[in-house]
Amino acid sequence: MKKFLILFITFVIIIPLSISKGERPKDPIAIAKKVIKEVTFKDGAEKDSWNNLKASQTLLAESEVKTGTKSLAAILFTDGSGTITVRENSHLFIYGDKGDKKINNKNSFLEKGVIGFKVTKQKDDAFLISTPTAVASIRGSSGFVEFDEDSTFVFHLNDGSASVKLLIGDKTEQEVGEGYTVVVLSDGQIVYRAATTEDQSIFNDAMNLNNSKKLFINTPDGKVEIEYTE
């Protein structure tokens, strides 16, 4: 019985663990292009600790990026397929499989907050941005996705083509035209409307990497510079 237990532990726990260790992602699939203020990340391979994200930091698949107040991170995918701009108070997971000469199944999961996206035209599979209530499938375009704490999903398409599939309610799929916005309420109700000036304003803010200000504080150790987004 004891031998059986040892074997059981060996096969059921240790071997799968070692296999999962072997499958850990190795090659980065993204890189941080710009970081402002307080941005932390959890590496796809070492998921147990949060570290400060700096520009030029590479990110493996399954990495998480979290931004603080008035903070920003711009993430580039290494196959040149697109840029994701993570705005303040957001939490993003980055997924993708390093395949033959490309990254397959690119999927950015937005747990909360706002991200801007600029995606080059996708040849094969679409570029996905997921939230708990809806998935946006993007085929070369720019816009933003917002997922509020009250589970409201907003998808605005500035240009290009995309569709949004609901994961709740009747699970319908909505094609989105340029200059249009899809809003999915927490009960699954879907609103498809022309973009408002507020949508446009959020989009402009989401895509603007230079929209930052600086605060200088004189300390006994010298001048401290704090950069933050507006």
Binding site: K26, D27, P28, I31, K33, K34, A55, S56, T58, L76, T78, D79, G80, K98, K101, K102, I103, K123, D159, E178, G179, N204, N208, N210, S212, K213, K214
Partner: protein, 799 residues
């Protein structure tokens, strides 16, 4: 072995040509030099011409075409002081080459060409176009993005090798920023090559820098290299730019003296330009004022203002060059406004303004009604004012206005359907001494369908024109129509038909006896073309058909070839991973569409070219062969029509080597041969042969010193007339005083049947941060004919 032999052969050719002197250079009285930006498929080519004796030039027109194109596209060059420039748009730059020549319209009404021999041999200048490599997309320079302005604090370089094959060794990658090799500082993370900004610390100078990444395979051989460009700015400047409105500009003033055969003339001009940006908006403004501006000439001064928001909205005012479908309006200066609104599904472009300004004519003498001769420049004048009702005049130019509008549907990604309307009319009252003011109306439509990521493209356009060649009398009244038209009258057309046409078209154009075409049912003023392009299996195949009636005319397109129809077929085949290009083209055109000529001439053209762009250290080679066969079927022995017989064949071979190599220091060399012979069995019987060889070597000796050497030989034999000359051009550029002073000089003597010497000197001194002074001197001597010199001084202030 073969490689080595070819290299030795090439070097031997170069040495032979340099020291024996079997070379060719463009010799031209009006253009001393033409330069163009790097040539790569899909990138625009900026062509700049240095002018000599610029005051005798009234207009310069760039004529260009890519392989397989039926005709040359004409675009007006913008003349600014002693330089003219034009741009070949990126969508028209295609491998294996672009051919061009420049039409030089002189102030005295004559026309000449660059190259000067083009009028005889119709051999244009050929620029090799490098095709994009699929390897370009395998290696991605992720940061900085192309053309990006980067704060030095945020600066780092990332190159992604995600697309390269397994035999590439990322660790062997070499990275150059400007002239600095930073390979020792790079970090390899999976497929990423990273040069961290922390390693910069003054290594990379602020300003515009290039990035070059060289990627090597596991055997150590160069796999491919890619380049990009960015601008590094100091943190201070970057912070200043965060203020919402960013701008740059400069003001340039020039004093110039041109001395031509002891005839000395002073000129001066002032140019200011301004570029600004605010969020997604960009603005540009430019003004050029010259003392060469004269009331009796078309404008020399230029001014323009433009603003645009990404690709959705643009507005230009002043001197604009609107681009509508080719049959309607393209490459013509319109002084007015031009704007576009692009919503994707629906778009609209509109342009309105003046294409010719009024130039008053001169009254030479007057005639009574009975003494007035029937001549084109004898016109009716105000008898109350000048005593007699007729006068002989130097005819002036009416002010000509133009309005064009094109609504379109679709974003052109997969589909676009457009409709064009152009109306252009001379203002009859704008001058006193003028004759036959005209009016033009063009309706057109165009269609673009792109399938399978534009691998299948179906495109077409059609336009119908009406032209009235004399609107001075206005539209006809019904009574006048009854008296002019009808059986037995001046024009045998049913008057009721004319009245119907007047009712329909009179709202758009003046209807009188001078309107054309008179035979619209024969499609004489119809122009149409359609093309199908297929891009599969490394073949870029294009089949097109054109039809241009003999009376088609658009005032927005002065240079369109009319009275021609036929097919054009071309195929560009990419082999050996885009290292080898085979291009084939065949065209069969004919004229006399409306039977207005004695015979129909068939023009058949066969074009072929093979280009090799090796990925290793070896010259690029392009070999071309063209055959032009023109025949109108008339027999020379025909007693009546023999003198109209056309029967000639022209064969042309070209060979071009391009090579970038390091022989102690980096050199860029280009060697080209061209030979052609015309066998003319027609009435004109002008057999001819032309041969030319041209070598150009640009060398960078140090970061401060570079040189240029050009040698060329040209010989022609037209009938019994022979012409041989040899020209060299040598010079250099030297930077002194910590790059504040730049000196460049070029000496260009020509020997043989044409003898002349030219010397150019330019000294540019950066006096202070924003101020440059430039001294330019040119001396040009034609022994026994003329000596001319140009001395100019320019001050440029940058803001």
């Amino acid at each position: 072995m073969l490689l080595k032999f070819m290299k030795i052969l090439l070097m031997a050719s170069l040495v032979f040509i340099i020291f024996v002197g079997n070379n060719f250079a463009q010799v031209n009285d009006y253009i001393s030099n033409v330069t163009h930006s790097p040539q790569r498929e899909g990138l625009p080519i900026h062509i700049k011409a240095d002018l000599r004796n610029s005051t005798s030039i009234s207009e310069l027109t760039l004529s260009y075409r890519s392989f397989g194109m039926t005709e040359y596209i004409k675009s007006e060059m913008v003349i600014l002081s002693d330089r003219a420039q034009a741009t070949i748009p990126s969508d028209r730059v295609k491998a294996p080459f672009i051919e061009y020549y420049i039409i030089i319209s002189l102030a005295n009404g004559n026309v000449t060409y660059y190259p000067a021999e083009f009028s005889e041999n119709e051999t244009p200048i050929q620029i090799s176009i490098e095709a994009p490599s699929p390897k370009d997309s395998e290696i991605i320079i992720l940061t900085p993005e192309k053309g990006e302005r980067v704060n030095e604090k945020d600066f780092f370089v990332t190159v992604s090798l995600i697309g390269v094959p397994d035999n590439v060794n990322p660790k062997e990658t070499k990275l150059f920023i400007g002239d600095v090799d930073v390979s020792d500082y790079i970090m390899v993370a999976g497929d990423l090559i990273i040069f961290s900004g922390e390693n910069n610390s003054g290594l990379i100078p602020n300003g515009i820098n290039s990035i070059r990444a060289e990627v090597y395979d596991s055997s150590g051989a160069l796999y491919h290299s890619v380049q990009s460009q960015f601008e590094l700015v100091s943190s201070q400047i970057a912070e200043e730019e965060l203020s919402q409105f960013n701008y740059t500009g400069n003001i340039k003033g020039e004093l110039r003296n041109e001395n031509y055969n002891s005839n000395s003339i002073f000129y001066n001009n002032l140019m200011a330009s301004f570029n600004g940006s605010f969020k997604d908006w960009t603005t540009n403004a430019m003004i050029y004022l010259s003392s060469e501006e004269k009331k009796y000439l078309q404008p020399v001064n230029r001014f323009s203002f433009s603003m645009e928001k990404e690709e959705r909205f643009s507005l230009q005012a002043g001197d604009t060059y609107p681009r509508f479908p080719n049959l309607i309006l393209d490459g013509k200066r319109v002084r007015g406004i031009n704007g576009t609104l692009n919503f994707g599904v629906f778009n609209i472009q509109a342009s309105a303004g003046e294409t010719l300004r009024k130039i008053e004519g001169k009254l030479i003498n007057t005639y009574s009604s009975k003494d007035a001769p029937l001549e084109s420049n004898v016109i009716r004048i105000d008898s109350m004012k000048y005593s007699n009702p007729f006068g002989r005049v130097d005819l002036g130019t009416f002010k000509r206005n133009l309005v064009a509008i094109r609504p379109s549907f679709g974003s052109r990604e997969n589909f676009e359907l457009g409709f064009s309307y152009l109306h252009s009319k001379d203002e009859t009252g704008s001058i006193e001494f003028g004759a036959r003011p005209q009016e033009n109306l063009v309706f057109g439509s165009d269609l673009f369908v792109g399938i399978d990521n534009q691998r299948i493209v179906l495109s077409g356009e059609a336009a119908f024109s009406l032209i009235n060649k004399d609107i001075s009398g206005g539209s006809l009244t019904d009574t006048q129509i009854d008296s002019i038209f009808g059986t037995g009258s001046f024009i045998d057309i049913d008057p009721s038909d004319v009245k119907k046409v007047k009712d329909y078209l009179g709202k758009f154009i003046t209807i009188n006896q001078y309107i054309g075409p008179l035979n619209p049912q024969k499609f004489s003023s119809l122009a149409a073309e359609g093309a199908l392009s297929l891009n599969y299996f490394n073949n870029n195949l294009r089949l097109s058909y054109i039809y241009r009636g003999n009376e088609f005319q658009s005032f927005g397109q002065n240079f369109l070839r009319t009275d021609v129809k036929g097919f054009n077929f071309s195929d560009r085949i990419r082999l050996m991973e885009n290292q080898l290009f085979v291009s084939l083209g065949f065209e069969l055109l004919s004229d006399n569409l409306q039977n207005t000529k004695i015979a129909t001439t068939d023009y058949s053209t066969f074009s072929s070219s093979v280009s090799y762009y090796p990925r290793f250290n070896f010259p690029s080679i392009t070999v071309g062969y063209n055959r032009y066969d023109n025949n109108n079927g008339l027999s020379l022995i025909d007693p009546i029509f023999g003198k109209y017989a056309i029967d000639d064949i022209l064969n042309r071979f070209t060979l071009n080597f391009g090579y970038r190599f390091i022989l102690e220091v980096p050199h860029s060399a280009n060697l080209s041969f061209s030979t052609s012979s015309r066998d003319d069995n027609g009435y004109s019987n002008t057999d001819a042969s032309y041969n030319s060889v041209n070598l150009q070597v640009n060398s960078t000796w140090t970061s401060d010193l570079s040189s240029i050497f050009n040698a060329s030989y040209y010989s022609s034999e037209i009938g019994l007339k022979e012409l041989d000359f040899f020209s060299i051009s040598m010079g250099g550029k030297y930077l002194l005083l910590e790059n504040k002073l730049q000196l460049s000089a070029v000496f260009s003597p020509t020997f043989g049947d044409i003898e002349r010497q030219a010397f150019d000197l330019i000294a540019s001194y950066n006096v202070m941060k924003n101020l440059d002074l430039i001294l330019q001197a040119r001396y040009y001597r034609i022994p026994g004919r003329s000596n001319s010199s140009i001395i100019g001084i320019t001050a440029q202030f940058n803001i």
